[in-house]
Amino acid sequence: MVFTSLALFVRNRGPDEFWRKRKILKLSAHFYGRRRNCYSIAIRAVHRALVSATKGRKLKKEDMVALWETRITAGCEEHNMTYPLFREGLVRCNILLNRKTLADLAVWEPRTFKSLVKVAHARVSQDGLAGVTELGDPPSGIITRGMLK
């Protein structure tokens, strides 16, 4: 006997869930307890983790900038200068180094940083900005060749 309608009862159960769930469980491999092994709990934890990661990318940049500013301020204070005046002096001299480079220079190239501070000081004294008098005398050894205009 041939049961022709048997073939009609075969239903496609859909793709294997294993591969879909594996994508999530791979991301939750380092979580605590059932959050790393059980899919329904892991999916929630992974979603929150991904959202934190997205928010954190922006925060990380903000944190790094704040750290660089602290380091540059510390470097400036070593040479009797303030950070806002330093920044203003460099910008006016068209030395457009970013905070990351300035912080690295302050840590690894202290003499270069000192020369930058001196240049900024000379420029700020020349332009007569507020707060210059508290810094003391402008440095003498700056060779400008007319470029500090």
Binding site: L67, T70, R71, T73, A74, E78, A103, A106, P110
Partner: protein
């Protein structure tokens, strides 16, 4: 790690002992300065996880100067936790009881309120006068500049210097000062 790199790291992260003379200084302004040194914010290698803070030894904390009416009006509140355990102590009373407390509280309150605070406060050493233990005196190698210049008192000048100084006017010889 070569010996050269090892000593270079040791030198970079060495803890420096600073001295601060609090005679006639405003403790709250000084606390801002001191906090900076305690946390390590004066170093270009600063990082909150770096443990790069230095030690600060404050002397003459018994001679601090508060602004205006502060001695009479500033109140320090303390509660023991038990019922009826609230105390309100005026600044001059606290200073009489313990001359280092005002400085200590000033630094404590100017720091961030995180778990590092108590740990960093251990590196602050306050003494009410010049008398610092010998071992700590030997550690100190730097002095932090005072915020306000300390004028010299008239009675500290030698009498010849006072007499030599040019006078604009002087009382008559038989004038009696009240």
């Amino acid at each position: 790690m070569t010996a050269y790199k090892r000593v270079q790291q040791w030198n970079t992260f060495a803890r420096v002992w600073h001295l601060y003379d609090a005679t006639w200084q405003n403790p709250f302004e000084s606390a801002q300065r001191i906090m900076k040194y305690l946390k390590g914010l004066h170093k270009p290698i600063y990082h909150p996880l770096n443990d790069c803070g230095d030690h600060v030894v404050v002397i003459n904390s018994g001679e601090i100067a508060l602004l205006g009416d502060e001695w009479r009006k500033r109140v320090y509140f303390h509660h023991t936790g038990y019922p009826g355990g609230a105390t309100w102590t005026l600044a001059w009373e606290l200073h009489d009881k313990d001359p280092t407390m005002i400085m200590k509280k000033a630094v404590y309150n100017v720091m961030d309120g995180n778990l590092q605070r108590r740990y960093t406060m251990q590196r602050l050493h306050i003494y009410p006068d010049d008398d610092v233990p010998e071992k700590i005196k030997q550690n100190i190698t730097n002095q932090i500049r005072q915020l306000r210049p300390v004028p010299k008192r008239l009675d500290r000048y030698a009498p010849e210097e006072v007499q030599r100084f040019p006078k604009v006017m002087d009382w008559p010889k038989n004038y009696i000062l009240r």
